[in-house]
Assembly symmetry: C2
Homo-oligomer: 710 residues x 2
């Protein structure tokens, strides 16, 4: 049948309905070992998921059809959650790591009574502005914990979530009746794709090391990826791999003819609390379709014919779409009532906890509502010019900030990707390890991508302010997860040290060139490159006070001279005049720079005969948010302006008429020599300024900022 032939279709449907009446027992549940209602629930989940994809003719029906049994079991029996309070602190967390199966998650949220996902919302699946976008987005839909879609991220976020639960339980649970205040599981559904991605290897290895026993991963082992059978590229022994990580692994051969085996496996998983569990579940992608078990059902809607026969095979009326019958409705209303009661029970527990442990309860509340402790910002160190210790590498100033705030900001949890002695990120707290879950320094190992994905999970859980660190150049390994921080509006703090060719001898593999620009061009990401101690404290203040934007603090490896006129307050405006004092106005020339190049420009300014202003611009993003009046007071736009940054020139055209920059890879050699080779010397700045001024002599200076629109 061609699509769009309603007469033809009608006939088929009539025949189909007859078939349905006569053969339900045979087609629908002949071999099903569980209850008829259970099967009807599962098939309704399948049908609702298919209907969403059909409505927009876009999306991925295959995985929801295969995963419906596990989803039903989790949402109807296993998990504790509260649709009326989606952010209940002690809810079980559910992560759909194979985010392309989003129709499944929306179906479950709908059936379970989340207000954000009405039947109408399901009908709007993948439409612009809907609550049901193509992939789950935590900032759009209540009940979604993290954004998923890019494979491997969800399962890695889940590791962070389970770490947060483990740590908070160790910190806040009490022996006398409050041993389960923080006590929930983290459930993940993922497919082959997530397990092929390196990021999940990194985080799964760490999860095994940490013995995160309340993490339960349901692996949708359907043998199919987009290219075809997993035989094409993925023949490793997955459970053996997870065994090698120290996980508890189980295999479930059948979920299509009943949930008994899976129910038992999840029960075993829950009892094993010293190791995370991977349950490998054999499923059939596109279960019930004529394309069942093939790659063709992965990411395309069903044909009209197939839709018909599939719904028939489910024992459902193929004429009805977006339909939930009353028995299924009732089954979910029942589980929702039970779940809401669980939350109410917990609310009573917490009320008692508040009486018994008022300080801890208030602390927990503060942490889950993202409020900073009173007066913490004042603890960030500030420096007077000339003061002892005011000339340091900014990574050391970063360490000073961590030392100042770490002890009084107990939700600060994180660490480094095995570069602790270089990143200087340990402020003297205990390691978070299997035997010391109360610790909060995380040894991420050499796993940059996993580290950043875990940090997203730590934040997503609530109650934690995550930070993490590596060399700036290696943020390139982690862009997949850093992008997710920015997209998800998770204010993760990234501390990226060794931020330029000044790294020196390690050479071009370790010298960022394009990296600053890569980060700056990512939406919703603040990139701070401080020039001295005051600016570093400003960077920390920006990061701490940010509610929806992650911050990257880029720090130097080597000592930088303090700026004469810097202050935390000035730096918090993104850019400011750092030489001479702001009162001296009407410059003939402006030098604008960041980080290690600012003091260089101040030196050059002193050698120049022009009236020179030096602008320190620690954060382009913050400066761009200042009132236009402030912006032009700093960078008037029609004064010859030269930017100086040991990085690519890309992006600097908006702030300067000319750039001293690097547009090739770096070199191995002493940092000072490499910097010199690329022209980062007072002399070269002076020379280039002279060329710039000569060029504009008697010519009108093009205006930079005064644009018609941006």
């Amino acid at each position: 049948m061609s699509p769009g032939e309603p007469g033809n279709k009608k006939t088929k449907v009539s025949i189909a309905k007859q078939l349905l009446t006569s053969t339900t027992a045979e087609t629908g549940d002949k071999d099903y070992e569980g209850s008829e209602l259970e099967l009807k629930c599962i098939n309704t989940i399948r049908a609702l998921s298919i209907d969403q994809v059909q409505a927009q003719k876009s999306g991925h029906p295959g995985a929801p059809m295969g995963c419906a049994p596990m989803a039903h079991l989790l949402w109807n029996e296993i998990m504790s959650y509260s649709p009326s309070n989606p952010l209940w602190w002690n809810r079980d967390r559910f992560i759909l790591s194979n985010g392309h199966a989003s129709a499944l998650q929306y179906t479950m949220l709908h059936l379970s009574g989340y207000k954000d996902v009405s039947m109408e919302d399901l009908k709007q699946f993948r439409k612009l502005g809907s609550k049901t976008p193509g992939h789950p987005e935590s900032f759009v839909t209540e009940g979604i914990e993290v954004c998923t879609g890019p494979l491997g991220q969800g399962i890695s976020n889940a590791v962070g979530i389970a770490m947060a639960e483990c740590h908070l339980a160790a910190m806040f649970n009490k022996k006398d009746g409050f041993s389960k205040l923080i006590d929930h599981y983290t459930y993940v559904i993922c497919g082959d794709g997530c397990l092929q991605e390196g990021v999940s290897s990194e985080t799964s290895s760490l999860a095994g090391h940490l013995g995160l026993g309340k993490l339960v991963v349901l692996y949708d082992d359907n043998n199919i990826t987009i290219d075809g059978s997993t035989d094409l590229s993925f023949t490793e022994d997955v459970t053996k791999r997870y065994d090698s990580y120290g996980w508890h692994t189980l295999t479930v051969q059948n979920v299509t003819s009943g949930l008994k085996e899976l129910r038992m496996a999840i029960s075993q998983a829950k009892r094993e609390i010293s190791r995370p569990t991977l349950i490998k579940i054999r499923t059939a992608i596109g279960f019930g379709s004529v394309l069942e078990g093939t790659a063709k059902i992965h990411g395309s809607p069903l044909t009209d014919d197939d839709l018909l026969s599939t719904k028939l095979s489910y024992g459902l009326d193929p004429e009805k779409s977006f339909y939930v019958d009353s028995a299924v409705q009732a089954a979910y209303e029942k589980s929702t009532v039970i779940n809401e009661e669980k939350e109410q029970g917990w609310d009573v527990l917490f009320a008692n906890y508040q009486k018994a442990y008022p300080n801890e309860a208030a602390e927990l509340e503060r942490r889950f509502t993202n409020k900073l402790p009173e007066g913490i910002l004042e603890q960030l160190p500030t420096y007077e010019y000339g003061q002892e210790g005011s000339n340091k590498a900014t990574r050391k100033f970063s360490q000073a900030c961590l030392n100042a705030i770490g002890p009084i900001l107990p939700e600060l949890m994180g660490g480094s990707a095995d570069l602790t002695p270089s990143n200087l990120t340990n402020f003297g707290v205990k390691d978070f390890q299997k035997m010391t879950p109360e610790g909060r320094y995380v040894r991420f190992g050499v796993r940059e991508h996993g580290m950043c994905a875990i940090s997203n999970g730590l934040y997503a859980h609530g109650g934690i302010r995550p930070y993490c660190a590596t060399f700036l150049v290696f943020s390139g390994y982690a862009m997949g997860a850093i992008r997710m921080s920015a997209l998800s509006q998770f204010p993760v703090l990234y501390i990226m040290t060794h931020d330029s060719i000044g790294v020196g001898e390690d050479g071009p593999t370790h010298q960022p060139i394009e990296t600053l620009e890569n980060l700056r061009s990512t939406p919703n990401l603040n990139v701070m490159r401080p020039a001295d101690g005051n600016e570093t404290s400003a960077a920390y203040q920006l990061a701490l006070t940010s509610q929806k934007t992650p911050t990257v603090i880029c720090c130097s490896r080597s000592t930088l001279p303090a700026l004469e006129f810097s202050s935390k307050e000035k730096a918090l405006k993104g850019a400011y005049v750092c030489w001479p004092s702001i009162e001296e106005s009407e410059p003939e020339l402006i030098l604008v720079a960041t980080g290690s190049e600012v003091s260089l420009c101040c030196e050059a300014a002193k050698k120049l005969s022009f009236k020179t202003r030096v602008v320190s611009m620690p954060c382009q993003e913050v400066f761009m948010k200042q009132p236009f009046k402030y912006q032009v007071s700093i960078l008037p736009g029609n004064v010859p302006t030269l930017s100086v940054e040991a990085s690519t020139y890309h992006g600097w055209h908006q702030f300067a008429h000319a750039q001293i920059s690097i547009n090739e890879f770096g070199r191995s050699g002493k940092g000072s020599e490499v910097l010199k080779m690329f022209g980062f010397t007072t002399e070269n700045v002076v020379d280039k300024v002279k060329a710039l001024m000569k060029f504009y002599d008697n010519k009108s200076v093009p205006h930079l900022r005064n644009r018609p629109f941006l």
Copy 2:
């Protein structure tokens, strides 16, 4: 002893020398089971490595001290290579995946007689401009196969190298006496760090799947990372993990008291040709130092005291640095002679092969010298405006290019990260699989980072032109390896489809915003975003003719209308006037755009009353290399110019006075609706142009291109 107290030192050295004379037998080789010469060779390797680090007071002595026994065995006994012809096609490949141990590799190159690494070069270790930079750089030093340093890359490159060997052997070896024309092993030394990185998990899983039996990895299991013991974060069972990938795994408990066990293991590894082998070798980082077995010896030079006692413990004269005694010299001269003879033997074999199989021999020569087949560029399709089939998605034009050149460019080998039906990268050749090594379509699996690292390896081997593909946004997963292509000057072809918010329903997780700019700001990387069929063919021509620069071709998911005045030749200049025909000059306004936005601008131009020029700029990098005269003929700079690209505005200031761009993440919805929402409509371009022209009415137009220097 404080450093810099020579008197004190002298005394210690004198005492030490006495000790040395009296106790060599006890200290040097008491427990050593092999020959005295063997131990002396190994200790000389250790000493030379230490000396390099001491000379510059920078570098990583720990790993070379621990790995010296395996390096000696490989270079002195196992491997076939030819110092006088470092690029001998059939050499065994050696990859130091833990590139920070570079001093070890330079030592081995020096001892083996590579001219590029003289004793003087060793003394210049890590100095600016030396042949011995901080991490191995293949484009600097002969004998280095790939750049290493960023962990996990080297072992992943090695997988690509082993794939290349396997494929070329299947293609060129012949039964009658030429069964071993291409027949070499790929040896890797790597540490814990490389095995923690996700990229190595991806590539190791694929290596196991492919059964790359001639890949042998020596795992330096020293239990130490920068943060301290591997107990902190890396307690997985590594051999079990590699077992799960289908590798052959072996364990060697001791290499410090003799090479017998390791020799046997490597022999076993070589015999097992159906599976790659991982040999886990227990070593001691910083062997012989007082800091042996600690993280402190990882990345810092030894103290003077420790240097003294360490050399003594090696049975070497602590006063001598950069010293190779005659016996060691002779041992290496001997192995070099044997190795050179191996190459000479192979040269005879190849001469005979040339006679027996002149076509194949010529083909092999052509491929290893990176020459394209005659006339191949003419096979790239070109399109007349209005011709049937000239309106297509550029990913389909990309497919047409692959279909045109694939069959006649046998060195073209690659594939997609499990997005074949979307990337359209299969031109109908057989899969490269364990049972079909003659195939050249690679099923990379959902492993973007690994795919790109393998592609670097495929190129590094020689004889292969690699290409690989994923969605543009997921290049963020692979930036670590794409950067290495650019740095290493490997002209890998990246085909990145679904290149904008036009992706639509998949939503912001799948919509690149910052990605184009990230790629463009990477040095030595050509980023092509073609607008139609002719421009896509130009992109392929650029990629094919590139010898030292990788190319990213960014393709649309959806159909684009052909440009009226496009041509392959014009597009090869990076930017050109695409509307109206170039003869009409002196525009009042310029629209500059790439890819899907070019035809949009042409539409807008037709609705505008201003004399409008539309510039298509498929490649910023190539345009920037054109003569200045050409550049200003296209973009005069003082004509109001508006850029239109569905991407961040970063980078566009250099080409336009104003931008239509996207500076937030995208949305899920129909592609056309999402594009409209962000202003990518004819109407919005017309509106913005009017605003721009009004703004500059009676004002001087700032000049964009006429800069004093760049």
